[in-house]
Subunit: 316 residues, 4 copies
């Protein structure tokens, strides 16, 4: 097993905490594990850990930190040492959050904060949240869009090549797909540490922001769940940016909305697609291929290229 | 990464070769990679390897051999040595099939033949089979049920505990779920070598057969694909044994049919369910819990407990 | 246009009013239009009238009355006269309920109470229930199973032939499908007054009840909605009797549960199936054909043949 | 029952007959009932009549004629007389096509040719096309997109108000939804003669064509069928114009493609939506409301406003 097991949780900042929390619980359908000071700890019904989203009151929006869980306590030590030696900015060990034990914090070259942890706290479904079937982490509560689990996030970086080295070095991530621009730069890169097709994507920053988030995504079981969610978003006045449709890259069925504070949130379904080949070579998309639009020909809308959080003031 | 990457292919015997081949291609929707002597090499549209099913003309039915792909050439050597030392019956190295390089063959204590291989042959879509999107292994041909990829198989063994040790030793498989009978025996065990919830299951043999197959399964992208497949099976006179319904164990949405020679074949959809926790503990189902039937209360039909291939003559 | 436009609403009795109301609103997903004395008036989100289900506190279970809306005020008078002349037991004009104007009440030969009405009250979505799209009757609220509209009901009668004459005479109903038993009797009959494949079914009473209800059904947009509902029922401890599966008769995708008081409630999806032919001949199923089970081979479970409401004491 | 029962069939012209026929059978998934001279008679698997699409070799594209079936032989005579008296251009009685008896032909003020007929020929499934269930018109063959039945068509007219009077007069059609432009004109009108939400739509001609077709549509059972069809179209090089998405008007889930000769063809799913109210009032959409785009915010693409067949030469 690799040192790093999976994406664990993401901290998202909001400057409209109440509205964002209402969105993520009632509309998007996450479960509140804990409300603690300025943060809400949320999980999808089948996330096995205490939280996969930490929503934090902040003066701006965007991503607070991104956490991966290691495969063992030893792997955590090993990785921490390796990252330190690689020279990335280290913030050191933190005592951990409500949802896990001690964690090693560090930064990518673009200012995004990451952490690695191993000791974790499992979801603790209460009497009203205990599932009928014991192989489910919590009850399928059917509130709102109600995705199954955290899937991935997408960050923006000014140099995707540099970010790629960071992911390969720190997490042992593999690139499954990428965009090769005509100017020689990498337009985007999709990474994974396990059999998922991706758990993190990085695309080129076209605004002037720093350490920005493009979007955060949870997985639904069926594409129908996403069509149904579109109606829920519509009825609740949520801004639907684009979708439902199917990405050419990764073949993901997607729907993008903006939560009340402006952070882009996705629902995604990958079907039964997994990367099982141990020698999988990255699929490389050319600029010409990207111009064909999404899988079924939908042209990518402009905001998808420019909107990130926190917003780049001069851009939008 | 673990030594063993994933289930690679299964050889299934049929004493009605033409009818079985027609079923697997036209009705079930696999693609013929090669017809070579007494065997047809078949793959699902997104299987990345040359074949995931080897269908072989034989005087009986059941399973020929089961193949897992290792993570590297070194892992293959390492595992071969380890298996030899563990004392399981070794058949030695074989030159490999049409679909892969040299393979190490051995048996479980119940007579099922396994092999490990690393060097493989990729699917080679021809001009009529090239997908529109380059991240797909072959074209989505939409013929018949048209599943995406090989998912798992289920074997029968007289002592599931013994089989469990075999899987843990030889493949480094982890048990994700199991049935604990009141008599102290294990009624069934679900194994995986990667993030899939299972790639092989073993349930207790209630007939008098040897080295029998319970079923072979391919994965569809959506549950709707399985409902649609039920109509296709109905229209083509295929014996539908049970389903579509949802298993309590593993939560798999399933449909079981018998191909013309009698081998049980499943279509399954696991939704977005994966085992990501590095410290996942087996979910243990008691006999009392199993008596509740499938997830939505369907009682398991009798043949599901007794039918395996080759058939146990006195049983059916 | 025919005199009778469509099934309007059904009154269901419950001896566990609070529990039944909680089921129909929170779990099954109907909207409460009015709580008035001993009755709750409920509607599905796209039912255009004030209510399609009147749930009434009663000392027993079963059906209170069944209401069809006529095509015009004149058609109502015409039908009332015709029914009176046909000699069916007439209960006379009633002032109407919270949801509609004056209605003409009468009985079938087995004691079920019917009514015809024309003047109606439309659904009145409040500020929290106003849909985003003006062609929807109310907001898609996404609570529970959340079906779109009332679909049909199934009554039990000791002589289906006699019931058939009643439906043809009183409502101008057409028979779309029926079961012809070997003993010469009609086992079941499916009726419609419009392009729906059926709005009322009658099957032979095998218990000793009088004026019994077999089940009441609402329509979902997709089969996936029914699979999803099965999980909701499971998580809420609702008794799932049978399904999800597909009927051979009418091809309906179905799921049957018992609400807390024991009334059988169905969710159904007919796909895009309609009866458009003006000269549609009834599809006649023989007893032998029925023995094949449901569309995909599921055997009909015993309670489906015996359970009705109110319960027949000696039967269950 | 109304005089006119339902839309029966549409004749579509193609100047690429072989390619169009291959599209409609192999890719779109209609069944060939008869190939006769310059025309192919096609039906969906559950169309009860011999054909719902007559595909005719022609020097241009567009619509040949549109046929509705009356409710009886008397209704046919009655309607023919009424249409003649209304002064619409009458072409007189024709002997009928391969698929039906004598028909009364006439034109709308914009040159589209219509016909009414009653005597019809039922689908005649052969040995390879007989369904497993006797309530289906033909076998569910699962070839290509494989819709269930003809749903509707959309015509272009320079004055939709005038067209509306034509539909109300000749067919007794009701308007279910319409677009009211700020300039006082009607931008579009959706008509039905039965409980379907619409069987024919007319939108304002923005090109300079005459008697043009906007699109022809078949109905699928599930939205998933349309998502699946999008992949089939993609793999077969079919031009996907827009969708899958959901219309705000009528709430139809849609996918538009151009068949090889350029005629726009849709797949649609209306869920369980029907117009059952005998006093349904047209839903009127303002120009401002239309500017919000489709249900989930998708902006309507330009070609959807301009492309019709035959093409308007100066327009495209």
């Amino acid at each position: 097993m690799s040192d790093v097991a999976h994406l664990g949780h993401v901290e998202v900042y909001t400057d409209q905490f109440e509205a964002s929390l209402d969105f993520f619980t009632r509309v998007y359908g996450l479960k509140l594990s804990l409300l603690d000071g300025d943060s809400a700890y949320l999980r999808a019904w089948d996330d096995y850990e205490f939280h996969s989203l930490k929503l934090t009151k902040h003066h701006t929006t965007g991503v607070g930190h991104i956490a991966y869980r290691t495969s063992s306590a030893e792997a955590l030590e090993r990785r921490a040492k390796l990252i330190e030696e690689a020279g990335y900015p280290v913030r050191g060990w933190v005592e951990g959050d409500a949802g896990h034990g001690r964690a090693f914090r560090f930064e990518d070259p673009f200012g995004h904060v990451f952490e690695l942890y191993y000791d974790t706290r499992r979801a603790e479904p209460g009497p009203d949240d205990t599932p009928a079937l014991k192989n489910m982490a919590s009850r399928f509560h059917a509130q709102g869009a109600c995705p199954r689990r955290l899937d991935h996030l997408n960050l923006l970086a000014e140099d995707v090549s540099v970010f790629r080295t960071f992911m390969e070095t720190c997490f042992g991530s593999k690139v499954t797909e990428m965009i090769q621009l005509d100017n020689g730069r990498i337009g985007g890169c999709w990474f994974t540490v396990n059999n998922k097709t991706y758990d993190l994507a990085c695309t080129e920053e076209h605004g002037r922001g720093k350490a920005r988030l493009h979007h955060l995504t949870y997985a639904t079981d069926q594409r129908e769940d996403i069509l149904r969610a579109a109606d829920i978003f519509l009825e609740n006045g949520v801004h639907i940016e684009t979708g439902p449709h199917k990405h050419a890259i990764q073949g993901t069925f997607f729907l993008y909305v903006w939560e009340p504070a402006g952070n882009r949130v996705e629902l995604a379904n990958a079907g039964a697609r997994l990367i099982l080949a141990p020698d999988h070579e990255p699929v490389v998309w050319t600029e010409a291929e990207r111009k064909k639009g999404q899988a079924w020909g939908l042209k990518t809308i402009e905001t998808f290229h420019t909107h990130g959080t926190p917003p780049a003031p001069t851009q939008e």
